[in-house]
């Protein structure tokens, strides 16, 4: 059992900025502007996509595990130039954005997400359901993700996972 998340006192203005960050992030992915995706992150960011099973059991394996903005750029190259796949649309629905702590390390934020996938000529399907466990920092007036851990509940990935969550 995990304890219910604490909430941090935060100004309305800061909360709106954080909410806007998540909205812009979702719009970027859903518009398939993948080359802009790394710009949401700090240079030494951590980005991981983790099955809930591994997360809950403290097993270190991630479906994707990147440790720098450079690795994110390599992923973008891979999905646009190297990974053969059937193209699909993503639709992120992000909700329940909760700031759980504020400190020197920035804002600790968690949020729920559902990603609906639509392949050419197919019905839309729930592709991944989970939560973001993030650390957001302010770098020169820009909010960026220093850490983004996508922990997905979905026990099985429907075949492959190409685009970022």
């Amino acid at each position: 059992m995990t304890a219910p998340p604490a909430t941090a006192a935060i100004s309305v203005e800061d909360r709106l900025r954080i909410e806007e960050l998540y909205a812009r992030y979702a719009a970027c992915l859903d518009d398939a502007r993948f080359e802009e995706w790394p710009d949401f992150f700090t240079d030494d960011c951590v980005y991981r996509v983790v099955p809930r099973e591994n997360y809950d059991r403290n097993l270190p394996l991630a479906t994707l595990s990147f440790e720098s903005k450079g690795m994110l750029r390599d992923r973008v190259y891979a999905i646009t130039e190297t990974l053969f796949h059937e193209p699909y649309y993503q639709r992120h629905v992000v909700s329940g954005i909760l700031v759980t702590a504020i400190g020197d390390g920035g804002y600790r934020v968690r949020a729920n997400y559902v990603v609906v996938r639509t392949k050419t000529g197919s019905l839309s399907e729930v592709y991944s359901a989970g939560r973001y466990i993030d650390r957001v920092v302010d770098e020169a007036g820009m909010l960026l993700f220093a850490e983004k851990i996508c922990v997905f509940d979905s026990e099985l990935i429907p075949n492959s996972m190409i685009y970022p969550l």
Partner: protein
């Protein structure tokens, strides 16, 4: 399993394994025979790693073919595999994916079993006293010993657990054979394993397509940009295709090179990206391990259910769990060794970005399997062509061949009587 077998109609030229009819990937009656003859009879199937259940009472759910099983370490430390199906009225009694138990108790009527699957007791066996009479109870000739869980044959080979519903199956090492067994023991030499975690995907294609994929050294240097560009697998490498005596299991063994341009293997290959430079190449931070003894990659297929991957520093077992003729689950268990340094563990985890449902060289395998299955649906009487390296079967000392696929179908036809 006394269902009346459905008739199988298949026009497959005798002895020809250089052609494979689409029908064997799409026909439900053929699939049922495969379940009976490969997954439920005469074969060992992978169910997990001993390191997943280190302590007495530890269990995990797994599957043999479509049948759910529980893999459990008994009080005596020995590993048992029982079917996840109550002997009373068939309830799949174990719902937790893993855990620790002293006994298994079915929730429906509380029949309880020991960790070997023997029935320990049933409520109200002697009836329930009400006043001076006794109501109900089991008949006098009800024997606990004849109502246990289905107990599978189990063998553990250097930490890898195999099970079979067929109690008369040949010994595991004989089943695998010395040729491929040698490579199995190269990875699993008895060292203690560390579980790094799981990846699970559901692939909408026939399960054999995944066996073929890892018996197909033709595609990696063509489909997978990362393999051809960075030299992890391509046609100009020193490779051996190893196959067991009966053609069912295989090892693809190779040595990486530096990648880059080579007229023989990269010209005209669209997946080759000469100018591809990684922004952060820690994903390919390969360190040679002494136990490799030369090869940098060994990919084993243990028919019908297991793939063992060693590709540079990344190690995994991949478990094939079929669901009907057109779909299977693919469960990856990544592992390392108990004496790995923290740096080596980190390296194995970084290189895991190449593999699994999102991996740089694995995500597209799932995709092409899905597209194959769709292609098969378009032409009921179609057949695949499998002629690279000739039409024969057996091993090879290079990787420009589809001989392992032909070998598998040679064996397949024999067992399936097709």
């Amino acid at each position: 399993m006394d269902t009346l077998p459905r008739p199988i109609e298949l026009d497959w030229h005798p002895g020809a394994c250089a052609r494979v009819p689409y029908r064997i990937y799409t026909d439900a009656a053929i699939y049922e025979r495969e379940l009976d003859r490969f997954f439920y009879g005469g074969h060992w199937c992978y169910v997990g790693l001993a390191a997943e259940i280190p302590n007495p009472g530890d269990f995990k759910r797994s599957a043999v073919g479509e049948r759910g099983v529980v893999v459990v370490r008994g009080r005596d430390g020995a590993i048992n595999v029982v079917e996840n199906r109550c002997a009373h009225r068939g309830v799949q009694f174990c719902q937790k994916p893993h855990g620790n138990a002293k006994t298994f108790v079915c929730p429906y009527h509380q029949w309880s079993y020991d960790l070997k699957g023997n029935l320990l007791g049933v409520p109200f066996r002697k009836g329930v006293r009400q006043g001076d009479r006794v109501n109900g109870g089991m008949p006098d000739d009800f024997e606990l010993s004849s109502h246990g869980l289905t107990q599978l044959a189990v063998e553990v080979w250097n930490g890898v657990i195999f099970a079979s519903f067929d109690r008369d199956v040949e010994p595991l090492r004989a089943f695998v054979g010395p040729e491929v067994g040698r490579y199995f023991e190269r990875v699993f030499d008895g060292r203690e394993l560390t579980i790094l975690g799981y990846s699970r995907q559901r692939i909408p294609g026939n399960w054999k397509l995944m066996m073929e994929n890892i018996k197909d050294p033709y595609h990696p240097g063509l489909l997978h940009t990362w393999f051809v560009t960075f030299g992890l697998w391509r046609a100009d490498q020193r490779s051996e295709m190893i196959v067991d005596e009966r053609g069912r299991h295989a090892a693809m063994v190779s040595r990486k090179n530096d990648g880059g341009r080579s007229d023989a293997v990269t010209s005209g290959v669209t997946s080759f990206k000469e100018n591809m430079v990684l922004h952060d190449d820690r994903v390919l931070d390969v360190v040679v391990e002494p136990w490799w003894n030369g090869p940098t990659v060994t990919m084993l297929t243990l028919f019908p259910s297991l793939i063992v991957q060693q590709q540079v520093n990344s190690l995994s077992t991949r478990h094939i769990v079929p669901h009907g003729v057109g779909e299977f689950d693919f469960v990856w268990t990544h592992f390392g060794f108990a004496d790995d340094t923290p740096e080596m563990t980190r390296r194995r985890l970084r290189q895991a970005n190449l593999f699994g449902p999102a991996g740089y060289v694995s995500a597209d395998d799932g995709e092409v399997i899905e597209f194959s299955q769709r292609g098969f649906a378009q032409e009921a009487d179609g057949e695949t062509v499998c002629e690279l390296g000739g039409r024969g079967q057996g091993g090879a000392d290079h990787n420009v061949t589809e001989t392992l696929i032909r070998s598998m179908y040679g064996y397949y036809r024999e067992v399936m009587e097709l």
